[in-house]
């Protein structure tokens, strides 16, 4: 099986560039760190599916340990890792998966097909002009987490 090395971004300019250069395609940005086990599992799925979705999606990894990336970590309210944020034509795409946070996907995907389905639904919704889409996955495949507001 071919593994495509996904670009790892460590600077804000790189993130800006990839957002601005991805036109009419879904941009998948994974925020995480390579030392995390869940992150590695997610990265494996992303790498394997990147080629399959290459016609309508671009995947990139963002290292949250980098200082320059912290502004985006704050802006996107990323508190749990790994988190995946979706963009389309520089517009953020929300995903309603029944969890508390619709702005991103938190955790890993169960399998490759789940990731492809999610990206496909986002792409279809974006092409129809929808900025929020419903997650096609069954609840058991969606990672659960507790979202805290300022530790409350």
């Amino acid at each position: 099986m071919e593994s495509v090395l996904l670009p790892t971004l460590t600077k804000k300019e790189e993130i800006d560039r990839i957002i601005n250069n991805t036109i009419d395609k879904v941009l998948v940005l994974r925020f995480g760190r390579t030392s995390d086990e869940n992150c590695l599992l997610l990265d494996d799925i992303l790498e394997k599916s990147a080629r399959d979705v290459s016609k309508f999606a671009t995947v990139a990894l963002v290292d949250v340990d980098s200082d320059q990336v912290q502004v985006y970590v704050n802006y996107f309210d990323i508190t749990l890792f790994p988190s995946t944020v979706f963009f389309f034509n520089a517009h953020h795409m929300k995903l309603d998966s029944g969890t508390a946070d619709h702005t991103k996907w938190v955790g890993k995907f169960h399998e490759k097909q789940d990731f492809i389905d999610v990206v496909e639904v986002i792409f279809r919704g974006a092409m129809k002009g929808k900025m929020i889409v419903h997650c096609p996955l069954p609840p058991e495949r969606i990672p659960k987490y507790q979202l805290l507001y300022k530790d409350v």
């Binding site: 250069n21 036109i23 802006y75 890792f81 520089a90 953020h92 929300k94 002009g129 979202l147 507001y149």
Partner: protein, 400 residues
């Protein structure tokens, strides 16, 4: 009295005769009620929109009169749905001249009113399908000005090619009767259009399309289309394919058509692919702009400096309600507060350093109160029981 009541009761159930609805294209017996039915209303709006677009084309030529080439006459025809007649631009020198005159005529206005009264619930849109006399007068003035300008610039030119020959004959207004055998006119009738008053009144005139039917020996090479006020687009001295002149796009002086800005050039190239994409997709306008920018950057025409350090994408934050712009503003406010608190903390830490060493020198420029050293345990705490920190959310702790 009872009979009258029963008659009155019966009236609503009385069905009218079957009649054809031109808009819906079927027969119905609903009578005048039919025009209020939703399906009819929908079809009517579609029907009127189609005709509106045709009128818009005619209005374009009303504002920008241009010459009508004989070979385009057959294409320049309009069917008036209100009057049920075809308006063909036979022998017109200017594009849509007959159509303009028709739409300005009182008969057409009357037919529009009648149509809308019969088919449409409202008469508001009647003016969309009419052309006012004032507009027609302006158009006539523009046409005469155009005609005079063209005639004066091109008189007296001679060249050997077919089209320019035709032009000369038209402009000098000579009836080339010696080229046409009058006997032939009686025998040969053109197939492309009907003989009508126009044909009979202009004896000795042959239509452009009828050259195939006439004896070639009596005709000069090419076809002569004779109209008294005609002039053609070949009036300029630029030449054409037959004279071997260079095409306009290779003209070193630059034809006006190709003297566009870079953006429009690029835009012409792009539509092939972008027209297939949904124009209502998310970020469509941004995508189009960005494509043009990238194309220009590729060509090296414009270097787009998109390296604003404060740029943030469109994002809807988790704990913010309201629009995405509000989210961004909130974030920028927080960032500014952060910067301010960071500065104040850096100042405090410097002060503490100064207090520790018990030096009086002030780097911040503000007056410092000299205080004795206070240990961490003895330091005052805030309400939450924590020491005054950097101001970040406690989520920072989770990221360890």
């Amino acid at each position: 009295m009872e009979e009258k009541k029963t008659k009155a009761k019966k009236k609503p159930s009385k069905k009218s005769e079957f009649e054809l609805c031109k808009v819906c294209r079927f027969h119905h017996d609903q009578g005048p009620r039919h025009k209020y039915f939703p399906r009819h209303k929908e079809l009517l709006s579609a029907f009127l929109n189609r005709f509106r677009s045709k009128i818009a084309d005619v209005r374009f030529f009303l504002k920008n009169p241009s010459f009508l080439r004989p070979q385009e006459e057959s294409q320049n025809r309009v069917w008036c749905v209100f009057c049920d007649e075809d308006i063909v631009e036979l022998g017109s020198s200017f594009a849509c001249s007959k159509a303009i005159n028709h739409f300005a005529s009182s008969e057409h206005h009357k037919n529009v009113k009648q149509f809308l009264w019969k088919h449409g619930p409202s008469m508001d849109c009647a003016d969309d399908f009419k052309i006012s006399d004032a507009d027609v007068a302006k158009w006539v003035r523009k046409c005469t000005a155009l005609g005079n300008k063209d005639a004066s610039s091109c008189r007296g030119q001679l060249s050997s090619d077919i089209h320019n020959n035709k032009l000369e004959f038209e402009r000098t207004e000579k009836v080339q009767t010696h080229y046409i055998n009058p006997n032939d006119l009686n025998d040969v009738k053109p197939l492309l259009y009907n003989t009508n008053e126009y044909q009979i009144s202009h004896s000795g005139v042959t239509h452009y399309g009828s050259h195939l039917n006439l004896d070639a020996s009596h005709l000069p090479p090419g076809v002569i289309g004779m109209t008294s006020n005609s002039s053609s687009l070949y009036g300029d001295s630029t030449g054409n394919v037959h004279t071997g002149a260079p095409p306009p796009w290779l003209n070193p002086n630059g034809g006006n058509i190709y003297n566009q800005s870079d953006i429009t050039k690029v835009q012409e190239k792009l539509p092939a692919k972008t027209s297939k994409l949904n124009p209502h997709r998310v970020g469509a306008a941004w995508a189009e702009r960005r494509k043009i920018e990238m194309e220009m950057e590729k060509r090296g025409l414009a270097v787009n400096i998109n390296t604003d350090a404060d740029w943030l994408p469109n994002f809807g934050r988790v704990w913010q309600s309201g629009t995405r712009k509000d989210s961004r503003k909130e974030f920028e406010k927080e960032k500014r507060k952060l910067v301010v608190t960071a500065e104040s903390i850096s100042m405090e830490s410097e002060e503490r350093k100064l207090v520790k060493t018990e030096s009086i020198s002030v780097e911040s420029g503000e007056p410092v109160q000299i205080q004795p050293y206070v240990s961490k345990r003895a330091r005052p705490k805030n309400l939450s029981g924590e020491e005054v920190k950097t101001g970040f959310r406690l989520e920072d702790l989770r990221r360890g």
